[in-house]
């Protein structure tokens, strides 16, 4: 903050700059390094003899004849069937985002306009639901889903992710709806609109920033989820994150580490682009509940 009166000494400024540069290095370097390494062969990126091979590309030159190779990507996407995983991720993400926004806006609008006591208790219950570890919920799902024979398919996972996502979406949209003045929809009601018409034609048009923020967070939850997708989907329907885990290998079978590296880069890149584009919304969403409450 520029306080006008506040003068910073040069020493403090230098110290501050060094600190920020160090932190940014810690925060970003792992991603840059993984991106760099994904274009090498395994013997270079996970070098047993000399880590410098990852930079000099010693083995990559021998094996492929070039400094960089996209072998890991082509193999993971074709042989490793990463295309299928990304297709599943797209399906899950699109449905989860649209359904949870639809349910969330309706519910949060009602909560923000209700003066009854139960609205408060519903919000508290949502807070408790938000705190539940996902794995405990999954342990509750598995048995009934096996019995009903709806385990392993995408629609089940989509519905579960929507439900898990609701408490957070409700809280987020609730705090956004609170900022829209009540007079706006009250005047519409006096003019003869029903509540739904007021919601649809008066409130929604001014709510886009909030809806975009809530959508981004639903997207990140669905896209990043591991616990639910790994345990509720069968091998065929795995999304990207459990697929990456399957490349790592287990005690029984050797994984293909370079596939995992390239898959990590392929899965992370779209997310980074999105956040770069919508940075303002992400930050306003993270702070919406905090600063006002």
């Amino acid at each position: 903050m520029d306080y006008g009166l506040d003068t910073k000494s040069t020493r403090l400024k230098t110290f501050n700059t060094i600190f920020i540069i160090t932190w940014l290095l810690i925060a970003c370097f792992p991603f840059i390094w993984t991106f760099w390494g994904s274009f090498k062969v395994r013997a270079d990126f996970f070098s047993r003899s000399d880590w410098w091979y990852a930079i000099s590309a010693f083995n990559t030159l021998i094996e492929t004849g070039g400094q960089f190779t996209t072998n890991a990507y082509t193999q993971a996407w074709t042989e490793g069937e990463f295309w299928k995983a990304s297709k599943n991720t797209i399906i899950v993400t699109v449905f989860v985002v649209s359904i949870s926004l639809f349910l969330g806006t309706l519910g949060a609008y009602a909560l923000s306009r209700s003066t009854e006591k139960y609205a408060f208790w519903i919000l508290m219950a949502a807070l408790i639901f938000r705190a539940m570890p996902h794995i405990t919920l999954v342990s509750g799902y598995l048995f009934p889903f096996f019995e009903l024979q709806i385990w392993g398919i995408l629609p089940t996972t989509i519905v579960v992710l929507v439900a898990i996502n609701q408490p957070f979406t409700l809280w987020l949209l609730y705090s956004f709806f609170k900022t829209v003045p009540k007079e706006l929809d009250e005047s519409a009601l006096i003019d003869g609109c029903s509540y739904f018409q007021a919601f649809r034609h008066i409130i929604m048009p001014v709510m886009w920033p909030g809806v975009i923020t809530a959508g981004l967070f639903s997207l990140m939850l669905a896209y990043n989820d591991f616990t639910v997708t790994a345990l509720l989907l069968n091998q065929e329907n795995h999304t990207m994150v459990p697929k990456i885990q399957s490349y790592l290998g287990t005690n029984q079978h050797e994984g293909n580490l370079m596939w995992a590296v390239s898959a990590v880069v392929s899965a992370t890149a779209p997310l980074f682009m999105l956040v770069m584009f919508f940075q303002r919304q992400v930050i306003s969403g993270l702070t919406a509940g905090a600063v006002k409450g």
Partner: protein, 342 residues
């Protein structure tokens, strides 16, 4: 809003939450009282010219019949809760009577799977949460001091660790600090110890996972604190400067009291998130030396032979109780505020 309108607006989301969050918790509760069936054995008499032998074999047909008739398993009451893999009541009694010193007793108890996981989970929470608050606050203060023009890209770089999924985040770090990665190899050179690696030491594994936790969660604290810092009023700070307050005094007496509610919010959220630590253990393949409560549940659910629903459910219920204890102060406070407001 009239109750009837409220009902219709809230029905879809309420139904989703009741069906897929409320009911599963009840389902977990019920499952925790059941255990998987024992295998049915039968005696088979085998006679040959030298005499008859009686051997005991598993009757597969009969076993699967029972499994089909009662898929939930046999009723076990609180048996699963008290068995060796959970609260281990009998074992603890035994250790209490047998061990000489208190230290030896604690040693024995912390080797039991549930207590081992509980201790790791609590240690993780205890070290990660305060450090996340501290680091997040320092980053927010220092980013707040740079020129407005370059803040955008700096904020983007800062929040990267937060937006990737924990599994990917931990993998990316693991590949660097593994003995074959860039940092791991260099540490080996520096320490002159070619066998030094993450997997070889329990303490090192714990420290790594805790550092990962701080790395992953600090950006969240940063974002919230940064936004809160924008709302700090200017006048009291200017007055403090004129009165000769140092920078540290200004932060302590003006900035911190102003953003105090936000600090409790961040502490609560990160405590809740840290309590369910699970993916980093898979990412760092640290199952051997670090297990959390969530990981225990996961391990039961991916069991190869038969899924241990009862065992997983019992651990889940105890995790939920843990969360409830963590949340209790907040809920009680909100309830008191709500009562006085009425």
């Amino acid at each position: 809003m009239p109750n009837k309108t409220f009902f219709w607006f809230f029905l879809p989301t309420g139904l989703a939450m009741i069906l897929f969050i409320g009911l599963p918790i009840i389902s977990t509760g019920i499952q925790s009282f059941y255990a998987q069936h024992d295998q049915v054995v039968k005696e088979v008499k085998k006679c040959d010219p030298f005499g008859c032998t009686v051997s005991i074999v598993v009757d597969n047909e009969e076993t699967s019949k029972i499994r089909e008739a009662k898929p939930l398993g046999k009723f076990n009451g609180f048996g699963t809760y008290t068995d060796r893999n959970h609260l281990a009541v009998d074992e603890i009694k035994k250790f209490w009577n047998e061990t000489e010193s208190f230290g030896a007793f604690v040693d024995q108890v912390t080797n039991l799977p549930f207590y081992k996981a509980l201790i790791f989970t609590l240690t993780y929470c205890l070290f990660v949460t305060p450090n996340v608050l501290l680091l997040g606050f320092i980053i927010a203060l220092s980013l707040n001091a740079v020129a407005r023009k370059i803040r955008g890209p700096l904020i983007f770089g800062t929040i990267l660790p937060m937006i990737v999924t924990p599994l990917v985040g931990s993998l990316v770090l693991f590949w660097m600090i593994d003995s074959q990665g860039i940092i791991g190899a260099n540490i080996q050179n520096l320490m002159n110890d070619p066998y030094l690696s993450l997997k070889s030491s329990k303490t090192l594994t714990w420290i790594t996972i805790i550092i990962y936790g701080i790395w992953h969660h600090s950006p969240f604290a940063f974002v919230v604190f940064y936004a809160a810092l924008q709302t700090v009023p200017q006048e009291p700070i200017e007055a403090a400067i004129i009165d000769g307050a140092t920078r540290f005094q200004r932060i302590k007496h003006i900035v911190l009291p102003h953003i105090y509610p936000v600090v409790t919010f961040v502490a609560l959220i990160s405590l809740m998130d840290n309590f369910r630590v699970f993916e980093p253990i898979i990412g760092f393949s640290a199952e051997g030396s670090a297990q959390s409560l969530s990981w225990l549940i996961y391990d039961n659910l991916v069991n190869e032979e038969v899924i241990l629903f009862g065992s997983a459910a019992a651990t889940s219920m105890m995790t939920i109780i843990g969360i409830a204890i963590l949340l209790a102060p907040v809920l009680i406070r909100t309830w008191k505020e709500f009562k006085t407001a009425r």
